[in-house]
Structure formats: structure tokens, C-alpha cells
């Protein structure tokens, strides 16, 4: 079982002294949620769990924890894309990370389970069964379709096995494109759409805190001079914050969707960066999570790059 293998690999790495800590997912307060755990003792490795609710992108902790000394990290393919980006941008040294890569069939949006007939508190396990989620409670077994329960970004993700890892565990066979899930298009009047979205923003910065790519020691929005954004929670200041954050994530966001998940007011912050990254891929052949790319997108150029001048002619 994948979970047992994760525990064994973590134990091995801790016992041999190769790593001083393993970052992974542990049981949350309720069975359908998980929480990050930091295991530094081989005896505690049974705290590590693996199921379709292991949603956090744990790469966010690496910039602090892997600064001096090696740590192990349990990582889904998307988390590995984050790690690849951090290594490319010299925030983490490859030799300081021990990647326990896990094949992933997509993670579950915990809020979507509430829509079914399942009694949430009685859930004992969640697992993928082909294209369906098998939800087991003490008395019942229910199958829910992936389209109904997958997190938004997992519906488009075909990255099923980690591109880089020291140990690779498990293999998820069902790709998102095989499920043929329809993704609704974006609104026509973008300006109005985003003004409505950003009008809800309370500027809690949860999106920034949870983002592995937002590793700046001082974020532009915390600066007093120059004051890029005022502290007040008005729509135009929120627009400035989100627009700038999207620009800062170009070629760096790997669409893990964590910012969207943690947002208390449901702003789809990942949409902008995802859209820009699709353009960057087409125009410059650059993908944020690609281990082959050696320089960041905007820290590089080609003499024959597309020229944005004369666009109005």
C-alpha cells in the first residue's frame, strides 16, 4: 500500500540520518481532511498518511526548513513542480531535499463531499477506484464521480507521476483528460468579472502565505516605501494586489491551486497565472514545472522573441 511505503521510506531516511525531518500529510481534525506534519523521529513515521484528501502543497515549507540541512518531503507531481521551480530559482538546493514522490490521481475538494448523501463525520476512508472516489463510512460504501469531487486544478492535470524524485511510489493510471470533464469558460466581460471577484477580497494574504512561489522575504504589498498597495480593503487596492501577484507568478506558478483553496471568500486567484502560463508555454516554450528549463521565464530572452510593439496596427 502506498501509505505503508511512504512510512517505510520516511523511516529509512530518518534512521540513516540522511534527513533530519520528513514533511508529509497527517490526519486532520476530521477524516476527510489532512494537515501537514513534520516528522523528525523514526518512531513517529506512522503519523504520515496518504489518501485523496492530501491536498496541501508542502513545498511551501522548503524555503525555510531546507535552508540548512537536508529534509525529506512527500510530494505529489504538482508539489514536485513547485520544488523544481524553487531549485531553478536557487531558493532550495537539490542536495538539501529528499523527494518521496507519490503518484497522484487528483485530490478531493472537501467542500464538494458535503453535497452528497455521505455523512461526513462517519467517513473512515477515501480512495480512488478507477475514475470514481470510493467513500467508506462505518456502515456504507459510496461511489462519487471524479468530476463531482475533484479540485478544480486536478480536473485539467495530466501530470500523474512526479518528474523528479529520489524515491517514486505508486502510479495513478486514470488521467484527467480520460475523464473528459467539462471546464466552464471564463466570463466575457473580464473587467467586470474581476472587479466583482476582487471586491470580496479582505486582504488576509492567505493566498500568498500558502504559495510556494511567494517566497519573497518582504512582499511588495508589505512595503511602506514605495507603497504599492494601501492597506485598505477597497476593490482597486485588491485589484493592484492580485494583478501584481499574478504578474509575479508568471512562469513560476505551477497551478497547484492552493491559493484558491485557502481563500476565505472564494477568489479564483490561480486563473490569471494559469492563463498567462499557458500563453508563455505556447509563445516561449516555457513551462514552470519543467525540470529541463534552466533559467526563469522572465530572467531569460531570445533575440527572436515575439515583439509586443505595433500591436495596435
Amino acid at each position: 500500500m502506498i501509505q505503508d511505503t511512504i512510512r517505510q521510506e520516511a523511516k529509512k531516511a530518518l534512521e540513516s540520518g540522511e534527513v533530519r525531518m520528513v514533511i508529509g500529510w497527517g490526519a486532520g481534525s476530521v477524516p476527510f481532511k489532512t494537515t501537514p506534519v513534520f516528522v523528525d523521529n523514526p518512531q513517529d513515521t506512522d503519523k504520515l498518511i496518504w489518501n485523496p484528501a492530501c491536498t496541501n502543497n508542502l513545498a511551501v515549507y522548503l524555503t525555510k526548513l531546507a535552508r540548512d540541512g537536508k529534509v525529506g518531503i512527500v510530494a505529489k507531481p504538482c508539489d514536485v513542480r513547485s520544488i523544481v521551480t524553487l531549485i531553478r530559482e536557487k531558493q532550495v538546493k537539490r542536495e538539501n531535499v529528499f523527494i518521496i514522490g507519490v503518484g497522484c490521481g487528483g485530490v478531493v475538494d472537501a467542500t464538494s463531499l458535503q453535497n452528497g448523501d455521505v455523512k461526513l463525520r462517519e467517513i473512515t476512508s477515501l480512495e480512488w477506484d478507477g475514475g470514481d472516489l470510493l467513500v467508506t463510512t462505518e456502515t456504507t460504501k459510496t461511489k462519487l464521480s471524479a468530476a463531482a469531487v475533484l479540485r478544480e486544478q486536478c480536473k485539467e492535470c495530466d501530470d500523474r507521476t512526479p518528474s523528479v524524485s529520489d524515491v517514486s511510489i505508486g502510479e495513478a493510471v486514470v488521467r484527467a483528460s480520460d475523464l473528459k470533464i467539462e471546464i466552464p469558460g471564463l466570463s466575457e466581460d473580464r473587467q467586470k468579472y474581476w472587479a466583482e471577484q476582487f471586491s470580496r477580497c479582505i486582504r488576509c494574504y492567505a493566498c500568498r502565505q500558502v504559495c510556494p512561489a511567494c517566497y519573497c522575504e518582504t512582499c511588495f504589498c508589505d512595503r511602506i516605501e514605495p507603497k504599492w498597495t494601501a492597506k485598505k480593503a477597497t476593490t482597486d487596492e485588491a485589484w493592484m494586489f492580485h494583478a501584481t501577484r499574478a504578474m509575479h507568478l508568471v512562469g513560476r506558478c505551477i497551478s497547484c491551486g492552493e491559493c484558491e483553496r485557502v481563500c476565505p471568500v472564494g477568489i479564483p486567484a490561480v486563473e490569471l497565472a494559469r492563463e498567462l502560463n499557458a500563453i508563455a508555454k505556447e509563445r516561449y516554450g516555457f513551462e514552470a514545472g519543467d525540470p529541463q528549463a534552466d533559467k526563469p521565464l522572465l530572467g531569460n530572452y531570445q533575440e527572436n522573441d515575439v515583439d509586443p510593439a505595433h500591436h495596435s496596427e
Binding site: 466581460d189 473580464r190 473587467q191 467586470k192 468579472y193 474581476w194 472587479a195 476582487f198 471586491s199 511588495f220 504599492w228 477597497t234 476593490t235 482597486d236 487596492e237 485589484w239 493592484m240 494583478a243 501584481t244 499574478a246 504578474m247 508568471v250 512562469g251 490569471l272 492563463e275 498567462l276 500563453i279 508563455a280 509563445r283 516561449y284 521565464l297 522572465l298 530572467g299 531569460n300 530572452y301 533575440e303 522573441d305 515575439v306 515583439d307 509586443p308 510593439a309 505595433h310 500591436h311 495596435s312
Partner: protein, 154 residues
């Protein structure tokens, strides 16, 4: 009445243009080429609308996308970034970096729903004073057609 000279004609056109609503334009200009081009337009007394507010930066590579976003947040009707022609950068490659960054900024504005016509990116050299003045006239007319920018929080 004698026939108007070219300069007089341009002046008349400009006067016509200035009777209409005047947009506000934020222009971020590279010190070595575009700013010098604007300077040349001024010292040669070439006429252009007084709609433009110029920010001088050392290089178009310094034109942070945040400058552009801030311009729109603060309600400018249009924003333009001008730099040295590719290959002519004073710092050898600053404008090559700018080219990618500004291209992505254009896409961001598009994704945010800001009309593409409100943002202008061009290469203007130090000798192109006439081109600078023509660009400002052109951009001003374009914005006059679009009307005032409603703001990002509309």
C-alpha cells in the same frame, strides 16, 4: 488667404484634437533613447498634445509591470512604455528582457479585461522626435475614441 504650411496644418489638427476631451497618459520612457527622442521633439518644437505625463527610467528593462498596473489603478486612461530598438540598448540587453516582460504584461491586462488599446509599447530612438510626437498624437486620438477609463473597480 495663403495655403497652410505643413506645420500650420498640423497645428490646426492639434487644435481640433485639443478641443475634445483630453485623456491622461502615463508614459514610461527609457532615458537613453525614448526620453531623448521626447526631448528632441521638444527642442525641435514639434507639436503634440499635452496629455502625456512622462516617467523617466534608466532603461525599458526598468519598466516594472507594476508601474503599468499602478497607472491603471490610479485611473490613467492609457499607459505607454517606450524603449530603445532591439539591439540598441545602452545596457546591451535590458530591452530584450523588457520585451518578454511587457509582452506578458499585455497578456495580463488582456486577462484582466483592460482593453489592449489602452496600453502601448513601442521602440523609439533618440533621433525619432517626430515619431514620438506622432505616437502621442495617435495614442491620444485612440484614447479619445475609447473614452475615459472607468477604473479597475467599476
Amino acid at each position: 488667404m495663403s495655403e497652410q504650411t505643413t506645420v500650420e496644418k498640423e497645428d490646426t489638427q492639434l487644435n481640433e484634437q485639443t478641443k475634445e476631451w483630453q485623456p491622461s497618459i502615463l508614459a514610461i520612457l527609457c532615458n537613453w533613447c525614448s526620453y531623448a527622442g521626447a526631448d528632441l521633439a521638444g527642442s525641435a518644437r514639434m507639436q503634440y498634445p499635452e496629455t502625456v505625463r512622462i516617467v523617466r527610467v534608466p532603461c525599458s528593462g526598468r519598466a516594472d509591470p507594476m508601474f503599468v498596473l499602478k497607472g491603471f489603478q490610479k485611473g490613467f486612461d492609457g499607459v505607454m512604455v517606450l524603449g530603445c530598438h532591439p539591439g540598441d540598448c545602452h545596457y546591451a540587453k535590458g530591452n530584450y528582457y523588457a520585451r518578454r516582460r511587457i509582452a506578458m504584461t499585455q497578456d495580463l491586462l488582456k486577462a484582466l479585461g483592460i482593453p489592449a488599446e489602452r496600453f502601448h509599447f513601442e521602440w523609439v530612438s533618440a533621433s525619432e522626435g517626430n515619431r514620438f510626437s506622432a505616437l502621442i498624437k495617435e495614442f491620444t486620438r485612440q484614447l479619445q475614441e475609447l473614452g475615459p477609463f472607468e477604473g479597475v473597480d467599476r
